[in-house]
Assembly symmetry: C2
Homo-oligomer: 196 residues x 2
């Protein structure tokens, strides 16, 4: 049991070291030797857990996706206005990215299509905007699919433009939703999101 626990700790140290290295230099430039140096683990111990850098990357992406699923489930269960869910979920995710290098590396890898073909957000925006449309919250004539694409593009662009400054990402996202959302909603829905 103690041995199993030690193995889990070693695996976690490798993930943290790989995430920190990827966060700093990117995936292509991240070298196995640098990752091992960061966590002080031998090559032999590394290969007991992973077949190579690629498998570590897949594990980071999987962890990121699980975390996003867990986070979005929690926000969905609050059963508030779907647009308020969208705001809360994205700003919460930005805060977590700021604090957690494992998530940052996972998102970076997902955006660069390592181990997955999606960062998981396109579906969420599409789903939440459609739910808002079903509840009659969108202004007349607005195409929900197009509105969802604009929300997604805004978040992707904002993330790119802050250039890794995750603290600024949270502030900029809140600001952007204040600009963007009132224009997507019918008048009566605005107060609901402000209150949500």
């Amino acid at each position: 049991m103690a041995q199993q626990h030690r193995a889990q700790l070693t695996r976690h140290s490798i993930l943290v070291a790989a995430a920190a290295e990827i966060d700093e230099v990117g995936y292509e430039a991240a070298r196995l030797s640098a990752i091992l140096r960061r966590c002080g683990i031998t090559k032999g111990a590394f290969y007991f857990h992973f077949s190579g850098k690629h498998e570590v990357a897949h594990a980071l992406v999987e962890r990121y996706r699980e975390n996003l699923d867990e986070l979005s489930n929690r926000w969905y269960q609050r059963a508030q206005n779907p647009l308020a869910t969208m705001v809360g979920l994205t700003c919460d995710a930005a805060r977590r990215l700021e604090d957690d290098v494992l998530l940052r590396a996972g998102l970076f890898l997902a955006c660069n299509h390592v181990g997955t073909d999606t960062d998981g957000w396109e579906f969420l925006f599409d789903d939440l905007v459609r739910r808002a449309a079903d509840r009659g919250l969108l202004r007349p004539g607005l195409d929900p699919a197009a509105a969802a694409r604009v929300c997604y593009a805004m978040v992707v662009g904002t993330n790119l433009l802050v250039g890794g400054d995750l603290q600024r990402l949270g502030v900029r996202l809140e600001e952007a939703w204040q600009v963007l959302l009132p224009g997507l909603m019918v008048g009566g829905a605005r107060e609901a999101v402000a209150a949500g």
Copy 2:
């Protein structure tokens, strides 16, 4: 004179070949040997015009910036609603990028901060949204600087998400402006942009 004309043609062939190579594989991976193979020019002839790949990249960025200046000047001179100028300018730029590999490479380099620290668009969005605010076109309470950042982020995100499919970029930008702009404007301004 004929010799000068031939030199200009050679210089242009090098720029086109470098742009095509950068467009295909990116700046870091673009090799001088591959560029020379594309345009069938000797190393000696190349070094008559440029000191290296870096100087070619700077020339491509400069050409891109000149082209953007010329294009934006033309749209500004139409003296229409500044928000209609923003829509027209971005969609026109997307069409030009689709047709012109030199511009595509120039924008790619500018976005990756080769030879410049800006792609030139941040200033344009900020200026045009402020002009709209000065004319009383924005909805009350909207911060022009924040609105300009959202427009910029939306365009950057849309460009990233079409993944080099420039034909789709034009379509997606038109769609995005239809979603985004009505929410930024006071009621009376909407028809003006639609008519612009």
